[in-house]
Each structure stands twice: as C-alpha cells, then as structure tokens.
C-alpha cells in the first residue's frame, strides 16, 4: 500500500528538523545582532539533538519515502554518526579562536545545512538526490573552509576546495549521464536489475548476458562516477586538495571535513556499491565485473594508505600531519569496502566509528594546543606534556589508537579490517596495511616525543587550561579505551546495519 504523504513526511523528519534548526540559528543571530554567538551555538546543539531524537523515534521497518529517500537502519546509523560529529564540531567552534567573532549565525546555518546534505547523502540510491546532497554538502563546505574571512590561508583553502570540488563534481555528473544513458534509470538498484537482464549482443545477435556486453562501458562510467566519491573521501588520485584545505581551513571546519563529510561519503559509497553491485546470481559476467571493481578499490586503498603514511612522516605542521593521517585512514577504511561483501562492509563501518573517536580527539587536541602555543607546529609543543598533563595523556591514548596498539579501539578496528581482507583473499593488502601501521608509529610518536621527552619551548609558558574542551577530550578518550576491549555493542550495530544494504 503506497505510503501516505504524512507517513513520508514523518520519515524525513530528522532532515527537516535539522534544516529548520539551521534557519532558526540564522534568524536568532540576526535578532541578537551578532553579539550572542555562544547562545546561537546552543540553539544549533538543540537542533542536532532534536534531529537525533526524531531519528530514534522512527519505526525500524525500512521504507522508501518520496520515491527516492530510503529510510533504514544503515541510514540511521550514519545519521547518528554525522549528528555526533556536528555536535562535537559545534563545541569545538565554541572554544576555537580561529572563527570571526560575529559570523556565528551564518557559520551554524552553513554547518547544519551541510549536515542536512550529509543526511540525504547516506539515505538514497537515487542519482539525482545523490548529486543534490553532494552539492549541498560541497557548497556549504566551500564557504565554511573560507570562513575565517580576514585570513589569506583560509581564503586560499576555500578557493582550492572549490576549484577541485567543482571539477570533480563535473566529471562525476558526466559519468552519471553516461550511466543514465546506458540504463535509462536514475535509481542504482533499478540500474543493477536492468543491467542483469538479457540483451541482444550487437555482434552475435543472440541473447547474451547484458553485463558482458555493456560491461566495459558501465565500468568506465562507474569509474567516472567514483571520482565524485573519491574526491569527497580523499582517496589517492583525488586527494590533492585535502592537505592544503585541511591546513588552511579553521580547525572546527577541518574536523567536520575530516570526519562528518568523509563519513557520509563512505556511507553513500557503501550504499551505491551494495546497490549497484550485481549479485552473483546475475551471471558470471557480473561476478567478473565486481571482481575487477574490488581489485581496483584494493589497489586504490593500498596506494592511499601508503601515500598518506609516507607523506605524514615529514610534516612539521600538526594539522597537515593529521590531514595525511586522515588520508591514510581513508585508505584503511577502503580496505573493507574493497572486499565488496557484507563481512567487509561491516568492518569498514566499525573502523569509521573507531576513526570518529580517535580523529575527533586528535583535532580537539590541536585546538587545545593552538590556544596555548599560538600555532600548530609540533616543536612549539615541546614540554607541554608536563604543563597540560591531562590533555597530553588523552593525546597519547588517541595516538596509540591511531597507530593501532591494543587495548585501544583503533587496534580492534584494524584487527577486524585485516581479518576481513585476509578472508576475502587480499592477503597482500593486509601485509601492506601492517607495514603502514608500523611506519605510522614513527610520525605519531614524534608528537609524544615532543610532548614529554624534549626541553620546554618558550611558547608553552603561558598555557591556561580550557576545562570544557578538556572534558570533551576526556569523553573521547573514555570512548577510545572503552570500545577497545568491549567493542561488542558497536560491532553488533554495524553488522546489523549492513544487512539493510543487500
């Protein structure tokens, strides 16, 4: 029985609540004449909380709203992921000094609208809605990247992000148009069933599996489409913008880009590859096709993580180092995607959650240190370990998790990824990943060395603790340590959510 208008509206309630919250924040800022930036922040937080509340109250049965918005467990999980990141980014924005004092309304408006874009991104298999969501997320991010108006680095970051983003989106659109041409449909699931159907082979004429006929064309189109995802996820051939933008943009925005935008893009990538991926039932041509895609993804994953780790070795700027580290972690997550099977997807989703805790923590620490040392260079941190013992302790835990040393959540994340990749036959990929983990040890521990083992730098003297930020970092550390030994809750959620995709 087709769902009624009211039911559909109820299904997209979280998105609407978030959008309304954005507008309300903008109006509130105007009413308070730009003086009460902190209270606007709280409004944004309330909006996020409301959207999550709405999300949780939805009935669990998966359904399609308005013909193209699939509302299911997988979407819900990623929406929670995006909402949680938004909340932390808002808190970071409170205590970061990089944002102009009176642009709060616009900032939270753009941030929440980017959130709306991310919500739609993870809950659709329709090409049109996908492009719209990507574009909404993108535009908001371009402006957010350039939000520190007077600062030339931020302007340059926005410019570069815009140019590269526009080019990538353009190429993706071209790819999607060809895909539309080949299948005549806009929905990935529909496309897959069309492609699986029989079609007359132009050469031999007899009914042959369509896939072997249109295979190469579909492959090229899919690759062009992947450019859009690759750019958002900062996979290797399309990661060039990431280091510069991450370094230039204000840190809360960088956090948003590195965690929320990347997470949502992974969600969309998982959903599309699950939908588009021809199930083996569709004949061996399809299986060969998915095999090829899988090994391509594995290759990209290996190159991404290796380049990310190697480049990070030589960084002196903390944000740029974390940029390369986040590229490397995108590489690790791609490992799970490359397996193209539910077991693998589940490990990628878990790794994203592990990534959530450790990376948010790392960026939070950058903000915390930037407040006392005034800049983001590693050697200006020298000796801070003794002056800010609590936060430095948290940083050590985050770094342990980023490297993947046991009892942290990072180790268990990597452990699942390696196991899934090994079972899927990518033995060589596991070895490359293990080597990368060892290499990553060096640049992460350079930070520890600076914090604890080196003589104090003068920048560290006027350090004043920031209780609110320290509290957030503390929570994230608890998360990193707690979900290490007891990952069962998250793992079960991820495994169950992935089942919705197939």
């Amino acid at each position: 029985m087709p769902s009624t208008y009211a039911e559909d509206l109820a299904r997209i309630l979280p998105e609407t609540v978030l959008a309304l919250g954005a507008c309300f924040a903008l109006v509130a800022d105007l009413l308070w004449k730009g003086r009460e930036s902190r209270r606007v922040g709280t409004i944004a937080l309330i909006a996020i909380a409301a959207s999550v509340f709405a999300l949780l109250r939805q009935e669990p049965r998966p359904a399609i709203a308005f013909g193209m918005v699939t509302v299911d467990g997988f979407g819900a999980l990623f929406k929670v992921f995006v909402a949680a990141t938004l909340a932390v980014v808002v808190l970071f924005a409170h205590s970061s000094r990089e944002l102009p004092r009176h642009g709060a309304g616009e900032f939270y408006f753009l941030l929440l609208s980017a959130g709306v874009g991310a919500y739609f991104l993870v809950s659709t298999t329709n090409l049109l809605l996908l492009v719209l969501a990507l574009e909404l997320l993108g535009l908001a991010s371009y402006v957010l990247a350039g939000f520190a108006k007077g600062d030339r680095r931020s302007a340059e970051a926005a410019l570069k992000y815009l140019v590269f983003g526009a080019a990538a989106t353009g190429v993706m659109l071209f790819g999607l148009s060809i895909l539309f041409g080949l299948t005549g449909s806009l929905d990935a699931r529909e496309m897959a069933s069309i492609l699986a159907g029989k079609a007359a082979d132009p050469a031999s004429g007899e009914a042959v599996d369509r896939f072997r006929v249109a295979g190469p064309a579909v492959a090229i189109a899919v690759v062009l489409a992947f450019v859009g995802f690759g750019y958002k996820v900062s996979a290797v051939p399309f990661h060039w913008w990431a280091p510069d933008v991450y370094e230039g943009a204000p840190t809360p925005v960088t956090t948003f880009l590195a965690v929320a935008s990347k997470g949502a893009a992974f969600g969309a990538l998982l959903r599309f590859s699950a939908a588009l991926l021809p199930s083996p039932a569709m004949g061996e041509g399809a299986a060969a096709f998915s095999g090829k895609l899988g090994s391509l993804l594995a290759l990209i994953s290996a190159v991404t993580m290796t380049l990310g780790n190697l480049a990070a070795l030589r960084q002196t700027n903390l944000k740029r180092l974390l940029a390369y580290s986040s590229i490397a972690h995108a590489g690790y997550t791609l490992m799970g995607v490359a397996t193209l099977e539910p077991g693998g997807f589940e490990t990628s989703v878990f790794y994203l959650f592990a990534y959530y805790f450790m990376n948010l923590g790392a960026f939070g620490a950058v903000i915390y240190f930037a407040r006392s040392t005034g800049n983001e260079d590693i050697d200006s941190l020298r000796g801070l370990g003794w002056r800010a013992p609590f936060v430095s302790g948290c940083v050590v835990v985050f770094l342990l998790s980023l490297v993947g040393i046991p009892p942290t959540v990072g180790f268990f994340g990597k452990w699942y990824l390696f196991l899934a990749a090994w079972n899927a036959g990518f033995g060589w990929l596991t070895v490359v990943a293990a080597l990368n983990a060892v290499v990553s040890l060096f640049y992460y521990f350079r930070i520890v060395k600076a914090l604890y083992f080196s003589p104090e730098s003068e920048a560290v003297f006027h350090h004043r603790p920031v209780p609110s930020l320290a509290a957030i970092l503390g929570l994230l550390t608890v998360g990193t340590f707690w979900f290490g030994p007891f990952p069962e809750t998250i793992r079960a959620a991820c495994a169950e959510s992935v089942r919705f995709l197939f």
Binding site: L139, A155, L159, T169, F174, S177, G181, P243, V245
Partner: protein, 105 residues
C-alpha cells in the same frame, strides 16, 4: 540525428570545459570551464532522455528534470564560486590561480 552525434558534441564541450579549467591563467576561466562541463552533462541527459523514450511519458522527462536540477546547481555554484573568487581577489589582489600558494609542501 543519431544519438552518437549528440554524445560527440557533449564530449567536445566537456573536453573544452576541462581544458579551460586547467590551462587558462585566470580564475574566471575556471568558472566558465565549470559551466561548460555542466552544460555538456545536461546535453547528454536530455539527448539520452529523448532517445531512450521517444514516446514521451515520465521516462522522457526524467532526463529533462535532471538537466533542470543541474542548471539550478550550476547557478548556485557560480554564485558561490564568484563570491569565493572575489573574496580571494580582495586578499591576494590577483586572479591568477597559482598566486595564492601559502599552503604547500
């Protein structure tokens, strides 16, 4: 006319757009390049819509709706692009894309 011809024109425009973005030394060319690429995609969409379902009906319009939305995106993107370019221009006092290179290796 055959579908291939339209595909050829669209590809030509796509190539020109890309070349314009990469080659020319003025940020505004980049903007123009973006528009060209999006137009190429639009042309593709409409052409496939026409040939896929000549009899009209919802399938035929699917391409046109997509094209419409893409045009709308192009407008939004052009606006934001211009704002960012001008903002950068006010700080770097140049439109050459390689001038602002504070963020590099």
């Amino acid at each position: 006319m055959s579908l291939g011809a339209y595909l050829a024109v669209a590809t030509a425009l796509f190539v020109l757009g890309l070349a314009m973005m990469i080659a020319r030394r003025n940020l505004l060319y980049v903007l123009m390049g973006i528009e060209l690429i999006l137009n190429a995609a639009n042309l593709n969409f409409v052409a496939f819509a026409r040939y896929a379902a000549p009899a009209g009906g919802e399938a035929a319009l699917r391409g046109q709706v997509f094209a419409l939305i893409v045009i709308l995106l192009a407008v939004a993107e052009a606006a934001v692009a211009l704002a960012i370019v001008l903002h950068a221009y006010s700080l770097f006092d140049t439109v050459r894309p390689e001038e602002p290179d504070l963020l590099r290796e």
